[in-house]
Symmetry: C2
Subunit: 231 residues, 2 copies
């Protein structure tokens, strides 16, 4: 039976959630397919209540519901051990969590401060009030963030320091081949890619741009095929 | 023949350099010993000129000079492949570079902004002018940094986000056992440990403190034995 993936959906059914992208990329890395079930923000609690969880992604496989992109990656790694590895061993899995924590805990917020206005445009009309209230609590007022976009973009370049240093030295965050650390960071950048014309937000960093293009080519061009906001 | 390690030396022969600590910890992880050769800042260029390099650490093993803590770690991993692994495989090695880049490119600067005045106290009198000039160029005026110590300490807590998230979930950055990612971050924190009474700088993060204590116990308590500034 095909897996099912509960996936965030915005206006025009845009799919831009970073954690959901991580799961879609992880599935592709494992050469697995899932039927996606679109959920608007305010529909999520009801739609994934069966999984005892309040956020997407939730993956349903063989009757088992697995929430949270990190837990899903670990589930896939163990349940499909014969498929291409997401972590390249236990050390790789351990350190991948640091990169995942950086992507979710640092990078995402720094990107949000640059593009949150654009993301807001892509949120479904019925979800806008919810999105504005919850995100302004975390990030600050959208109009103030928009007014400081240039400073926030400069700040993002500083946040990108470890990524730039790493990719100046090697083709992927994981070394010679892409693994989950690349997926979690790339999935984060697909968020502004789908929602904003400001991307790819890298300044003039050639190594980072080259990595971005390599990641775009992976998995049959999954990232390139992502629907983006209408111009 | 015993290896030789060119190691930064401060006043009272304090050894506090983060990159040199990384190498000393990596040697201990590999169960290898090196005789250290103390170098004050302004002596370094002359003392390690033979290695075509301008900074320490420089490791000399079997007639070969290897500079730079990251290159030394890789040298040790390959030359002493039968000893305990620093990376736990190629994926671990790849992602370790990201953590190393974060430690050196982000964490170090954030710590510096809190304790640079204390570090300055520990610099050898003959090196003080050199240290002040080069570090103020990077970080800003020492007295201004000291005046903003509280804000800089708060900023450091934000910088520590990915580390705190990781260690809340697992005992080491590398997962269940400590590897080079743990060493590169721990070596960075030994810098304020040796030079400042403000450490360990973690706020009230229990998971990070527990990791710190575990790291202090490793390698026969190598970190605990470090000489610290006189009270």
């Amino acid at each position: 039976m095909t897996m099912q993936l509960y996936d965030l959906s915005g206006t025009d059914d845009l799919r831009f959630s970073p954690p959901c992208w991580r799961t879609k990329l992880a599935l592709a890395h494992k050469e697995l397919e899932a039927e996606t079930i679109p959920c608007r923000f305010t529909e999520i609690p009801e739609k994934v209540a069966f999984a005892n969880h309040k956020t997407v992604p939730v993956l349903v496989d063989r009757g088992e519901a697995v929430p949270d992109s990190w837990r899903i990656a670990n589930y896939l790694e163990d349940a499909y051990a014969d498929r291409p590895s997401l972590f390249g061993g236990e050390a790789g899995r351990g350190v991948a969590r640091f990169v995942d924590s950086w992507a979710q805990g640092v990078l995402l917020g720094a990107i949000a401060k640059v593009v949150i206005d654009d993301v807001f445009d892509c949120v479904h009309p019925d979800d806008k009030a919810y999105f504005k209230e919850t995100r302004e609590k975390r990030l600050g007022a959208f109009d103030e963030l928009a007014a400081q976009r240039e400073q926030n973009l400069a700040q993002l370049q500083t946040v990108l320091t470890p990524l730039k240093l790493t990719l100046k030295a090697q083709p992927y965050i994981s070394g010679e081949t892409p693994l989950y650390p690349d997926i979690t960071v790339f999935g984060t950048f697909l968020w502004p890619h789908c929602t904003s014309e400001a991307e790819p937000l890298f300044g003039d960093d050639d190594a980072l741009l080259a990595w971005w293009n390599r990641m775009m080519d992976l998995y049959g061009g999954l990232g390139r095929k992502a629907n983006r906001r209408a111009a």
